[in-house]
Amino acid sequence: MLKLDNVGKSYRTSEVETRALDSVSLEIGAGEFVAVMGPSGCGKSTLLNVLGLLDSPSEGDFWFCGENVARYSERQLTALRRAALGFIFQSFNLIDDLSVAENVDVALLYRRVAASERKRRIAEALERVGIPHRAKHLPQQLSGGQQQRVAIARALVANPKLILADEPTGNLDTANGDTVMSLLTSVADAGTTVVMVTHSLAHAAHARRTIKLLDGRIVSETLLAA
């Protein structure tokens, strides 16, 4: 489903060039649950941004569902993101002014889904993450764990082919972290591809494959036995 071929990503300021990804080649199949690990600054988030079509590679090719998207325009990337991707962030990134249901709704809004259909799918997504009773609350009225579950519901509601999770348990205590991991595992089990950046070995163990990065390069890949 995803194929990176010698992908590099550099950031330039006027004087300094920072190389965040260096000749990364990687293939991820449909329905895989992949964990990405590595020390701070190794390029994990950059890799996730490239995979999530939030950033384009400086060099190399990126095949997404059979299409080379490395040179896609912002508009094409947006269309693809809208159609196929869901995101979960460490800091939840919920919109403070919107209620739980409305936050989830944002993922459907730009897909021009009919109102009645959106309502049904929001209810379903909130049910799936276990917080249907919080639909009308504002994010700041929820605990961290609950907020992350809203973020997962938002990522799931549009039935994306790929979910990218950037340290989804980083701001959570152990119990809430475990709940989130169970949810992600069940999502992957249901056939959605999940790529997750994490610092936690325990949480990485939920994934079928773990990729380790160092200085922008893949230094190891571990495949968990089925």
């Binding site: 939030l54 912002e74 947006t78 993101r81 002014d97 409305e102 730009y110 938002r154």
Partner: protein
């Protein structure tokens, strides 16, 4: 989708109370000011459009062209023009006149001085007014009939059903009320309250009709209305007027071009005739620009605060983009949010308009109404302006915000604000440039009006009372004996509002025009002018300088000239004029007498300072007196006035006393200028208020954004005053930059404004510096609170903020 955007906008508005309030209140005040100004402009442009078939009604406007002077424009024409015109045009063309004249009106014991409008019977066929009692059909055909406005009927009778009741004019002419009409609205060129039959024996129209052709003199004091039949081009009548002008030239020797002006254009195109000030297109342009500037200042607040607070919404934008929002979607959202702010502000703005309209009407002397049902086109236009302003103000922030890249936002790096800080600075500079310009404008207008009413006038006007009187009885004599009266002198017009033109012959025999004023010895001294430039002033010691001369001439006997008159007559100096004679052309106005020049006085304005000082010849014929100036000693003024009123009743003329103070008259003369000055000051205050709101918001935002930086600075040893200085300097810079725009623009605009005055003050550097200093003080006072609060915070608190 729209519902979602609406909800998001409403919640954002509710959550960010300070910034929302600043935006909405600023815009609301801006819209209120703009709406009031728009109402005023609409009112100015709506003059005389309410008359039925107004597009067929015209006014004959004559302009008098005299040697040695510029053309004197008028709304009026000579009274015989209508009569002569009627004989030249088809009978379907209706022609009617109105001549105003001062008369006393009495009912029982109640008597007052009124301006009576004498009109031809066809007058009400042309200007159709709504009747409240009686009928206007064939009204005023009888010479003893009156038509009252409702307020005049109430003034004399306490009610409006007064048909058949009688009022007495000049205590001798009994006039019967034939109809009562509604009061004239404020947006007509007339200010008439009492119409009398022009056929009355004592009417100036009857007198004019009885005068044989050619007329002995010209008086452009008659409004002549022409109503064309459907389909007739005005040029048909205009041609006749041109021919009539030629007849005047041939018979009277005066160049008197006459034109046909559509009644709806009279207010803006012709000078003031009755008490209604003439319109001024330049003023309309200026106030319209001011209204737009005020709205622009409020819109700038929106742009600066939205872009300043962009980082606050970065996460929301990034999330939306991540889930597939396109730039267009976000632009629609943020522009819509801006329009929502604007529409909310509009509602509050309209509420403010409702509150302020009565005071605004008092200020402008108008009866402006805003009806949301009848004026729906106007309300819709203001609504569209609001939506357009909101949309325009929202475009730039939405462009900046929608360009955020999610990856960068999530990484926490610097946001690509697309130069919005520079744009923000530019906008703040623009705001301050506008308000410094307005402060300069207000200062210059006030200074000029002050100059016009004080030193520009040159004569002493303090405690000078003027009383309308022919001085032909014991009143003027007895007046001088009253306690509290220092001096009294009769004259044919006040030195600040005179005078009839008179012809004199120049050295080469050409006829020149001068103003001629009859005065009594002691007149100049009463107005503080004790020394002539040359020769002497009139004196009671010279027997030939007291009392009436009679005869046909305007001036017989010795005369005094002003300095301008000596220059017109080509005298080398004031001294050179003494002992010389001036000659009046023999014939129509006089018998060709020569008058000796006994004195020359310095120039002083005899009307508005807008007009150049005229050449004036002063003479002493008591037959021309129509007022007495009284210098009071300034002590116990109410008692002195009461004594004067009592004396008037005892030995004065058989009518109520008509008196006024010279300074009050001058205030009236410059009321429009004063009003313009006040308008500039109020506009500047509104602009200052809105700009300060924006600055306050920006300071709050800066204080919030720089908390960490300030913490670090304090941790490294910066004192509280260092921090305050740093923050205050940040907000002083845009004001200093603003001067670069405001000074030249303010100087140029006000220089052009001052050019309307023949005698004017200068724009001095202190006015520009003062305006800038005031702007800086206002800016600093606005941001000081935030600066002090932030500077006082302990470094640990500031650092913990992150």
């Amino acid at each position: 989708m729209l519902r979602h955007y609406f909800l998001a906008a409403v919640r954002n508005l509710a959550r960010n109370k300070l910034y929302s309030t600043i935006n909405v209140v600023g815009l609301a005040v801006g819209f209120a000011a703009a709406t009031l100004i728009a109402l005023f402009v609409r009112d100015e442009l709506s003059f005389d459009r309410q008359w039925p078939q107004h597009e067929r009604i015209h006014v004959v406007a004559a302009s008098l062209q005299l040697e040695g002077r510029g053309p004197i424009e008028s709304q009026g024409a000579n009274a015989d023009a209508a009569v002569r015109l009627r004989t030249r045009v088809p009978p379907e063309v209706a022609v009617a006149r109105l001549t105003p004249e001062e008369h006393t009106v009495r009912r029982g014991d109640f008597e007052a001085n009124e301006t009576v409008s004498f009109v031809d019977p066809q007058f009400f066929d042309i200007l159709q007014m709504s009747t409240l009692a009686g009928t206007l059909d064939s009204v005023l055909q009888r010479p003893d009939t009156l038509v009252l406005t409702a307020s005049t009927a109430r003034k004399y009778f306490g009610r409006i059903d007064v048909i058949g009741e009688t009022l007495e004019l000049d205590r001798q002419h009994a006039m019967r009320v034939a109809a009562v009409v509604a009061d004239l609205p404020s947006n007509v060129h007339l200010s008439a309250t009492l119409f009398a039959a022009g056929r009355a024996a004592f009417s100036p129209l009857t007198a004019a009709d009885a005068t044989p052709w050619p007329p002995r003199g010209l008086s452009l004091n008659t409004l002549t209305y022409v109503k064309l039949p459907p389909g007739m081009a005005p040029e048909r009548v205009a041609r006749e007027l041109t021919a009539m002008s030629a007849e005047y030239k041939a018979a009277v020797g005066v160049v008197l071009p006459m034109k046909l002006v559509p009644i709806a254009d009279v207010h803006m195109r012709l000078p003031q005739f009755s008490a209604v000030p003439a319109g001024n297109a330049t003023v309309l342009y200026i106030v319209s620009v001011i209204a737009l500037l005020i709205v622009a200042i409020a819109a700038i607040n929106f742009v600066t605060l939205m872009t300043a607070r962009a980082a606050r919404r970065a996460t929301e934008i990034a999330v939306r983009k991540t889930v597939g929002a396109e730039q267009r979607d976000l632009m629609i959202q943020f522009t819509g949010e801006s329009i929502l702010h604007a529409l909310l502000a509009l509602i509050i703005g309209f509420a403010l308009v409702e509150l302020l309209l009565p005071a605004f009407n008092d200020f402008t002397q108008r009866t402006i109404h805003l009806s949301y049902t009848r004026d729906c086109a106007f309300v819709a236009a203001i609504g569209l302006l609001a939506a357009f302003t909101g949309g325009l103000a929202g475009i730039y922030p939405s462009l900046v915000l929608s360009r955020f890249r999610p990856a960068q936002v999530f990484k926490g790096g610097p946001l690509p604000t697309g130069g919005s800080a520079a744009v923000r600075q530019t906008l703040v500079v623009t705001q301050f440039a506008v308000l410094i310009t307005l402060i300069v404008a207000a200062t210059v207008v006030y200074r000029q009006v002050n100059f016009a009413m004080n030193e520009g006038w040159r004569l002493d006007k303090d405690q000078v009372l003027a009383i309308s009187s022919s001085c032909g009885n014991a009143f003027a004599t007895e007046l001088r004996k009253l306690p509290g009266v220092r001096a009294a002198a009769c004259s044919g017009g006040a030195p600040y509002a005179c005078c009839g033109g008179s012809g004199v012959l120049g050295p080469d025999g050409t006829q020149l025009s001068m103003s001629a004023v009859a005065i009594e010895p002691g007149f100049f001294e009463l107005y503080g002018l004790r020394q002539p430039l040359a020769g002497r002033l009139f004196s009671a010691d010279h027997p030939g300088e007291v009392g009436p001369r009679g005869g046909d001439s305007r001036f017989i006997g010795p005369v005094i000239l002003n300095a301008t008159a000596t220059r017109l007559l080509n005298f080398a100096s004031p001294q050179a004029a003494i002992g010389q004679v001036i000659r009046q052309p023999p014939g129509r106005y006089n018998t060709g007498v020569e008058s000796e020049i006994v004195g020359v006085v310095e120039d002083f304005p005899v009307s508005s300072l807008r007009d150049p000082i005229e050449p004036i010849v002063f003479f002493t014929d008591a037959g021309f007196f129509n007022m007495v100036s009284v210098k009071l000693d300034g002590r116990q003024i109410p008692q002195t006035l009461a004594a004067i009123d009592k004396l008037w009743k005892q030995v004065g003329e058989p009518r109520p006393i008509n008196r006024w103070f010279a300074d009050a008259f001058l205030e009236d003369l410059y009321r429009e200028d004063l009003r313009q000055g006040q308008m500039a000051a109020v506009s500047a205050s509104i602009a200052v208020f809105i700009a300060c709101l924006g600055l306050f918001g920006l300071a709050a935002f800066t204080a919030e954004r720089r908390t960490k930086e300030i913490g670090v600075r304090k941790a490294l040893g910066a004192s509280r005053s260092d921090i305050v200085r740093m923050l205050l300097w940040q907000f002083t810079k845009p004001v200093l930059w603003a001067n670069l725009i405001a000074w030249p623009v303010g100087w140029y605009v006000m220089h052009r404004w001052l050019e309307r005055f023949a005698y004017r003050t200068e724009i001095e550097p202190w006015m520009l510096l003062g305006a800038s200093a005031l702007a800086i003080v206002i800016a600093l006072a606005t941001v000081a609170t935030h600066a002090f609060v932030v500077a006082r915070a302990r470094p640990v608190t500031a650092l913990r903020y992150e």
